[in-house]
Structures are given as C-alpha cells and as structure tokens.
C-alpha cells in the first residue's frame, strides 16, 4: 500500500462522516490555535520589553537605593535603605571616570493646574541629561538648562497630553502652572512618545530634580541613571560605583542594575509565562486527542465488517493498523494546519487591536504545535487502530443483530 493509497483511503473514510470528523478536527485546531496565539503573545511581550530597553541604550547603569541581598526583595520594595542623595550623584559624576552623562531622578504624583484646569500626573525631577538618556525631544520650547543639579529653578516641561488638556487653545510656553504648591514656568512641551518603561511620557511634568525633591519633601532620589562611554566598562564601573557609595554611606546599601540584567530577568519571566501558557494550551490538545480516540473507536465499531472483509481478502493486521493510524494522523494533522491558520488570524487581530505589541508566533511553537498535534493523533489513534487490527475476521464478518 503506497502512502498515496493510504492517504486516499483515510481521506475517503473521514469524508464519509463529515460532521464527526469536523468536530474532532476542530478540537485539535483550537488546541493548536491556542498554542500559536499564546506563544505569539509571549513573544510579542518579549519584543516589546526588549524594544523599550533598547531605546535607553545598553551602556546604562541604574543605581537604586537599597540592597537586594539585605531585604530579599527588589530594591526599594522593602527595607529602609540610606538615602541616595544628589550629593551621591555629584560624587559619581566627579569621581567615576568614563561617565558620559548622569541623570538623578526623583519621582512622584501631583496635581498640575492651570487656571481652572487640573490633572493628576506623574512628576519627574531630573536634569538636562535625563532627556538625552531617555532619548526625549521637545516639540516646542527648550530642555531644562544645563545647570547645577542642586539648583531648584521653577521651570517645567510638560507632556503633549498635559499641554493639550491644560492649554487647549493656548500656547503653553511661558505660562505658569501650579504643581501642588509650587508655581513653575513652562519652558517646553515634550514630543509625543507614548508609554515607555511603564510611564506614559505624554502625561508627565518634568521639573529640575532639586525642585521636585523640595516639592516631594524628600532627600532620597528614586534612581540614578549613569550612562557610560563604553559598554565594556559596565562591569568594572558597577563595582566602582558600589565601592564609592559604600564608602560614602559606610555600608553597601545600593543596588546597581545593568539593562542586560533587568532585561534578562524580565525575559526569563516572560519566557516562563509563555511556556506555562503554551503548556496549558497543549493540555487542550490532549483533550482533543481523546476526541480523536472516541471518533476512531466509533469508526472501528462501525466498520467491523469492513475490517473482516479486508482480513478475508488478504489485508495483513499491520496494514489494518496502518489504515486506522493514518486516519487518526490525518485528522489531527489537518486539524493542526487549520489551527495554525486560526492562530495566525488571531495574531493578526491581536496586532491590529494592539499595534504596540509586535506579536508573532515563534517558529518553534509553530513546528512544535503541528508535530504535537499529529503525535497526539497517532498516540490517541493507536488503541482504536490496535482494536481494529486484532478483530477476529470470522466474528467481524458475522451478521450483526
């Protein structure tokens, strides 16, 4: 029996029961589509995160108050570390060689108002360097002046959404806004950027860092971003910065993160989540397999006399086994291909709905889901096929009441 004969024979048998075969096939298709769609989602999330980080630059060190080993949690989440101050930032800028730019960051949320219009927004306190570090540009006006970071001028840059909502019919440049109790003059409007690293940059107000710390009544910075001149210096400079701050604080109470390490952690989490989701989806393939087994058992029962006839005309047991196995494999393979198409369509819909999420199924998931689907068909079809091949031809040919 050639492969063409086997496939033709199996196809005819399956077409003989279109509804039954179709429903069974649909079960496999849903399982494969789920694997494809969920892995596409995971892959999309990974690409999204990677893209976000790539916009900062690879040679950036992030100094965070607190120490992971001390609290057992992410820095800043638990424990009471020493302050990471502006003086620390100045010391790093002064004493660490090979630093291209440094941006101390203070963060908070306050109400911003102009006249009767007000809005709750994220406040970022930093320096002129911050804009270069985060690849931010202004659409109008100017950046913060390059000045001593301790100088708390009453200046502000506002995000594009803030500008539109506070100044719907006016040019915001030169106007004085109220940020909580502080009055600051708008010197620039940021270019529309959207969400980046968890912050909607269209809805921020950027103040000089000293001004922001005064506003928040805090001594400690939220972060210190240090951009080095050379990527190769990341490891040694990380050690130098820790040593310097340990000397200043009399204890090691900061954590220095590299973009790579953060990205690696996030990637690991996303990968584990993706695999977990794919595994859950694969379980549905197992369920689909029981559907195939059911269909094949019914098929064997219905075709008992056909099997008897085959055995009588000289069809070997292994050939009967092959006939039913090919049927099960064909059912699951066609279901798998249909699932790929459904998964691909689902991914297109996802991308259309969320353009920022570059979702696309990884090749391994496409291949694995198709192989898994076919394997499921063969494995779950094996028992019914063995039942068929072991039928006693005399009993199989006997008239059934």
């Amino acid at each position: 029996m050639t492969a063409r004969d086997a496939l033709g024979f199996a196809g005819r048998a399956l077409r003989g029961h279109r509804l039954r075969s179709g429903l069974s096939l649909l079960g496999v298709a849903i399982g494969v589509a789920a694997v494809v769609l969920l892995t596409a989602l995971g892959e999309g999330a990974l690409r999204y995160v990677t893209k976000q980080f790539s916009e900062i630059g690879a040679e950036v060190l992030i100094v965070v108050p607190g120490k992971t080993e001390t609290t057992g949690m992410m820095p800043g989440v638990a424990g009471v570390p020493n302050d990471l101050t502006l003086a620390d930032a100045e010391a790093v800028a002064r004493r660490i060689q090979g630093v291209r730019r440094i941006a101390p960051i203070a963060m908070g949320t306050e109400t911003v108002a102009y006249g009767e219009r007000r809005r709750q927004v994220a406040i970022v306190g930093s320096t002129r360097e911050f804009f270069a570090l985060r690849r931010l540009e202004v659409s109008r006006g100017s950046l913060l002046p390059a000045a001593d970071m301790n100088r708390g001028a009453a200046l502000a840059l506002i995000g594009s959404t803030v500008a539109r909502e506070l100044f719907p019919a006016q040019d915001p440049l030169g106007r004085v806004i109220r940020v909580a109790g502080l009055r600051a003059r708008v010197i620039g409007v940021l270019e529309p950027r959207g969400t980046h690293m968890g912050m909607d940059l269209n809805e921020v107000v950027v103040l000089p860092v000293a001004t922001a710390m005064r506003l928040f009544n805090r001594r400690s910075l939220f972060r210190l971003m240090v951009e080095l001149e050379r990527y190769e210096d990341l490891a040694p400079k990380k050690v130098e910065i820790i040593a310097l701050l340990t000397e200043r604080h009399d204890e090691e109470d900061v954590t220095v993160l590299t973009q790579d390490s953060i990205l690696e952690s996030l990637s690991s989490i996303v990968r584990v989540l993706t695999l977990a989701l794919a595994a859950i989806a694969a379980v549905s393939l197992g369920v689909a397999g029981t559907g195939i087994m059911n269909v094949m058992l019914v098929s064997v029962a219905e075709r008992t006399s056909e099997v008897g006839l085959m055995r009588a005309v000289g069809v070997a047991r292994r050939q009967v086994l092959a006939i039913f196995l090919v049927e099960a494999a064909l059912l699951s393979a066609v279901g798998g291909v249909l699932g790929l198409v459904l998964g691909w369509l689902g991914t297109r819909v996802l991308v259309a709905l969320y353009p920022a999420m570059p979702a696309s199924p990884p090749l391994w998931a496409v291949v694995a889901s198709l192989v898994l689907a076919t394997t499921v068909g063969v494995v779950f079809g094996l028992w019914p096929a063995r039942q068929a091949s072991r039928l006693d031809p005399v009993r199989a040919l006997a008239p059934r009441s």
Binding site: T2, D5, R12, R15, E306, L309, M310, G314, V315, R317
Partner: protein, 240 residues
C-alpha cells in the same frame, strides 16, 4: 486441492465448549465444485471459515494445495488468503464509500499492485460480470444482484485457485440468483475450485458433489445425480 483430516473446531462458551466441527475428514480435488448444505448451526460456515484460513482448527490437520496450513503464522495465512482464496458472502460486504471499481481494486491495493494495472484489471473484471457501465457507482446505487456481481469480481481479481461462497444467492431475487449461479458455473468451468455453502437444493444441484452437515459432522456425501433425485430441501436430503 483441499485435504481435511479429522478436523474439529470448538468454541469456549461460558465454562464449557461447543463443537462447531467434529472430526471432519474430507478431500476436495482441484477444479471440483462442491456444495455444503445443512441446517443452521450444523457447522457449514465454520467449515468454510477453516478452509478459507479465516479460522484455525482446534484439532486435526488441513492441507491446502499440498501445503499444511495448520502451522502457518498469521502473516503466512494472510498471504494464503490474498493469493489463493476468493470469498463471496451472502451480504456482499462491499465498502459503502467506495465505487464498484474501487471495491474490486481493494485486494490489489494491499497486495502492492501498481495503480494503473489495478484500474485496468478491475475494469476488466467488472466488464466480465456485466457491469462495465457501473464502475463509478457506489454500492447503494446498485441492485442486490449487481452488488453480488461486484463481489464476485472482487473475489476473483487476485486470480485465486479456490473460491468460497457463503450463501451467495441467499439475499437475492430468483433472477439475480440465477445470474450469480451462472457466473459461478463459468468460473468453475474456467478451472476454479468452488465450495458453496447453501440452504437451497437448487444451488446444490449445480455442484458435482454435496456435503450434508449436521451437528458439526459431514453426515452425507451426495453426487449431483443423487442431488437431482433428492427432495427439494436440505432437511430431506440430510435425513434421506
């Protein structure tokens, strides 16, 4: 062609066993036309199944074409059925989703006969049974007589030496039955050894010899002349 020596076949049922065949010793020559008659449960079909290598004797020895088949493996028996034996059944046993041509092709598909040759041989076989214009019809589009003629074409497509027919006219009207019997006569005339299980003495009268069975035994052996003189029922023949 066929030599049975003290062949028995019993089936385990519940705690005991039932003897479907009991010490049958028989010899069928090559090219012979033999009818097997007897009441239901007398062992006719069991004898046919054993001769057709679909079933194995519980005891006794069986030679087919000079070869003892009792010791053959399952695969070897499959090859014997494929190349030496053709089967015709009362209920035709055609595959419903296949056309007449494809049904006739079926044994050749699994015997690795090339596609082109298969098609040509199956078409010739259908033409030989008068169904040249029915090759694309499915079984449900054929009459009973036509179905049995397709079955005859299928049974002979592998050019067997032995043709076994179990009640070949049992499910047919008299006209179709007569056509089928004429075809069997022609096949016999062509040199085929023919064994036909039947309840119908009219069918048995066409055979050269009739074995009458009861309770698993061959109780009478009648020549065609004796059959022609016998009453028109197997029961009378068996008891006469």
């Amino acid at each position: 062609m066929i030599r049975l020596e003290d062949v028995s076949r019993s089936y385990a049922i519940g705690g005991g066993s039932i003897a479907a065949l009991a010490s049958v010793t028989e010899h069928v020559r090559t090219g012979e036309y033999v009818a097997i008659m007897g009441p239901s449960g007398s062992g006719k079909s069991t004898l046919l199944n054993v001769i057709g290598c679909l079933d194995r004797p519980t005891t006794g020895r069986y030679w087919l074409d000079g070869r003892e088949v009792g010791g053959l493996s399952e695969d070897e028996l499959t090859l014997v059925r494929r190349h030496t034996i053709g089967f015709i059944f009362q209920f035709f046993h055609l595959v419903p989703r296949l056309s007449a041509l494809e049904n006739v092709e079926l044994p050749m598909v699994f015997a690795d006969v090339a596609r082109g040759e298969r098609r040509s041989r199956a078409a010739d076989a259908l033409a030989a049974v008068g169904l040249a214009d029915r090759v694309t019809h499915r079984p449900d589009q054929l009459s009973g007589g036509e179905r049995q003629r397709v079955a005859i074409a299928r049974a002979t497509i592998m050019r067997p030496q032995l043709l076994l027919a179990d009640e070949p006219t049992g499910n047919l009207d008299s006209v179709s039955g007569a056509q089928v019997l004429e075809m069997l006569d022609r096949l016999h005339a062509g040199g085929l050894t023919l064994l036909v299980v039947t309840h119908d003495p009219q069918v048995a009268r066409r055979a050269q010899r009739t074995l009458v069975m009861a309770d698993g035994h061959v109780v009478r052996r009648l020549t065609s002349e004796q059959m022609r003189g016998a009453a028109p029922s197997w029961g009378t023949a068996a008891s006469s």
